[in-house]
């Protein structure tokens, strides 16, 4: 544990955080505090009170490589120490280990990391079916967590993650980075302050998922890959090259397709822009076509319509949908005074010029965003560290927010699989009047890789 971290966490508690949340700056009301004791901030050459988090990476392929690059930069700035890297594939692990100049301890089994008392926080970038188990166990071992999106593959997994974060008083940030990205923020403040008037509909467009045009038979796993550990909570089955490394995305039980991948980004941004995180009840009706052959079973084309009440608005996922913008995917906010396009999720692409140039009206409500790094991947992690240092433990994409976003994705896939519309009661966390759907809100896990 870094020096002072525990004490400080309790000294600057959530009550204090909420108390200062009404602070005003100029004419605009600020949603979150900007008045933070200077001493808690770090800067080059001036270590903050809770500097040098000792961190570990669980899963270092794909997006995990970006996380490692980010942490190497934080390490260079004296803000973290990378103590360990972990991956179930020795080939991937070796590259990461060498990337740390052989300074981090390499592990195949993440549970060695959970045993280490000196590690404060973990970054999890394993396939989606691992997120819940590893996050819950990391929370239970007292570690703060940054976990890739989507938060979970089932609703019950997501609930367990929220409960674990709260019970163990740790910060769990989910990697839907747009909520700390400039483009999404500019769009958010413009939408919230009426650039298109009252928004009644948001439509997403996204290119189709791939189909496996060349199915292959099961084989032995490649040298260095611990297939049993890769499967983890999933039922055991023989290795097939169409599962991994990245293809898990196109398998329903592990990746959930585009809607659970990019949808987790886009829905997160949309809910933020509409200030709709509390609208947890909705109906969802999804249709789509899945590949006629091959291992991959997520929708190639998909349309999912979510209806929210009080206030009433519609969210439409289109794969491919109606492309209004210029790039591969994005969404449109349709208001009674016009519409505004957001390319991608507002992170890797800038906001629309109308949003960038938006002038806050008198009495307008400003939107808080951590703004420490231009690079939004770095900034999202800085936001996570900030929530730990400040002690409120509620980063921008706190696990509860991400669980709600993932619920949209997971229930759209469930509606697609069941071939019927679902009515979701967010308070009770159950599908109304559909026992079969409720049974599928969880998926049994294979011990010992289970919640």
């Amino acid at each position: 544990m870094p020096h002072n971290m525990t004490n400080h966490r309790h000294r600057f508690n959530r009550r204090h955080f909420l108390k200062v949340a009404g602070t005003t700056v100029g004419a605009a009301t600020v949603d979150f505090p900007t008045f933070i004791p200077r001493s808690v901030f770090a800067a080059p050459g001036r270590p903050g009170a809770n500097d040098r988090f000792v961190i570990a990476h669980i899963g270092v392929g794909g997006m995990g490589g970006t996380h490692l690059s980010n942490m190497l930069r934080f390490q260079k700035e004296g803000k973290v120490r990378i103590a360990a890297v972990c991956d179930c594939d020795d080939n991937t692990l070796e590259a990461a280990y060498l990337n740390t100049q052989s300074q981090a301890k390499p592990y195949r089994d993440y549970r060695y990391i959970l045993e280490r008392k000196d590690i404060d926080a973990v970054l999890i970038a394993t396939p989606d079916h691992w997120h819940a188990v590893q996050t819950v166990q990391a929370c239970q071992s007292g570690k703060h967590v940054y976990v890739e999106k989507p938060a979970s593959v089932t609703v019950r997994d997501g609930q367990a993650m929220v409960n674990a974060a709260r019970a163990n008083k740790v910060a769990v940030q989910v990697g839907a980075q747009a909520r700390t990205a400039k483009g999404a923020w500019q769009t958010c403040r413009a939408i919230r302050n009426g650039i298109v008037g009252r928004v009644s509909k948001v439509t997403c467009w996204h290119y189709a998922s791939p189909a496996d045009t060349n199915p292959v038979p099961d084989t032995e796993p490649p040298e260095g890959l611990d297939w049993d550990l890769w499967l983890g909570p999933l039922p055991w089955r023989p290795f097939n090259r169409r599962y991994c490394p990245a293809n898990f995305r196109w398998i329903m039980e592990s990746g959930g397709g585009q809607i659970r991948d990019r949808g987790a980004h886009q829905f997160s941004t949309i809910l933020w822009c509409l200030d709709a995180d509390q609208q947890t009840s909705f109906t969802v009706d999804a249709q789509g076509t899945v590949p006629t052959h091959g291992l991959w079973d997520t929708a190639v084309d998909m349309r999912a319509v979510f209806q929210f009440k009080h206030p009433d608005w519609t969210l439409e996922w289109g794969q491919p949908g109606d492309k209004v913008g210029k790039t591969e995917f994005g969404n449109v906010f349709w208001g009674d005074q016009g519409h505004l396009v957001l390319e991608w999720e507002g992170g890797y692409r800038p906001a629309n010029p109308e949003a960038i140039n938006f002038q806050m009206p008198p009495g307008g409500k400003e939107v808080y965003r951590t703004d420490e790094y231009e690079d939004f991947n770095m900034n999202h992690k800085a936001d996570w560290f900030k929530s730990i240092r400040e002690g409120h433990l509620r980063p921008a994409v706190d696990i509860e927010i991400a669980h709600r976003t993932a619920t949209l994705c997971n229930l759209a896939n469930l509606s697609l699989m069941l071939g019927r519309k679902l009515v979701w009661d967010g308070d009770k966390q159950e599908v109304v009047g559909d026992a079969a759907a409720n049974r599928m809100l969880s998926r049994p896990q294979r011990p010992p890789y289970c919640l």
């Binding site: 195949r108 045993e115 291992l295 069941l418 559909d434 079969a436 049994p444 011990p447 010992p448």
Partner: protein
């Protein structure tokens, strides 16, 4: 949709309900023939449109789960899931129970994939009537883990009782998994501590090279 596909779809929609036996059998026979096709353009739409085929198609489709052509086996499995998820819709209890009965029948087949898939399918559609025959497979070393997982999806005391009973007689190596299940369902279990947090896997990365 071709004329043949339209005919099959219409017949399948009736197969689960009121069609005369001969017509229903014809529809199922046609479905199976199309699932066995080597042509994706025939086999794909066949499994995707199989939802309404109902209980009558369960056994013939299950027989294809071990087909030498893995695409045929995969299509049969997906057709079965379409049937299950259609039959299990709200208000279709009779259809669901008919499908459940057929799936329970599969639990005794010699083909491991059929027993395994039947267990997972029953985890979605099974009622309490399926619990005892499913629990019987907790002693089947080939599929006992699937049986344990499938029973975990059943709410209520009966599945817990079945797991408890299996735990009492299970071989040592399977007791840990059953103990894990029972604890998740709020049952106190002596011994057989959880292995969830016990690291076991070693990497060769960063280790000194040995010749």
């Amino acid at each position: 949709m071709t004329a043949n596909e339209l005919k099959t779809t219409t017949l399948l929609a009736g197969a689960a309900t009121a069609l005369p036996h001969a017509q229903a059998a014809e529809a199922v026979g046609d479905l199976i023939a199309r699932i066995k096709s080597a042509d994706d353009l025939i086999r794909g739409p066949a499994w995707q449109g199989a939802g309404a085929a109902g209980a009558a198609a369960v056994k013939p489709l299950a027989a294809l789960l071990t087909d030498a052509n893995f695409e045929v086996a995969r299509s049969a499995k997906r057709a079965l899931y379409k049937i299950i998820r259609h039959a299990d819709r709200p208000g279709a209890t009779a259809e669901a129970r008919a499908v459940e009965t057929e799936l329970v029948g599969l639990l005794n087949t010699s083909a491991v994939p059929a027993r395994r898939e039947a267990l997972w399918m029953l985890s979605e559609i099974g009622s309490d009537h399926a619990i005892a025959p499913m629990a019987a497979l907790l002693t089947d070393t080939e599929v006992r883990e699937d049986a344990r997982c499938a029973l975990m999806r059943f709410p209520g005391a009966q599945a817990t009782k079945a797991l408890k009973s299996a735990f009492a007689h299970a071989p040592q190596e399977f007791k840990y998994a059953l103990a894990e299940s029972l604890r998740q369902r709020g049952v106190k279990v002596d011994g057989y501590p959880s292995q969830r947090l016990v690291p076991t896997r070693q990497t060769r990365v960063g280790q000194p090279q040995t010749n």
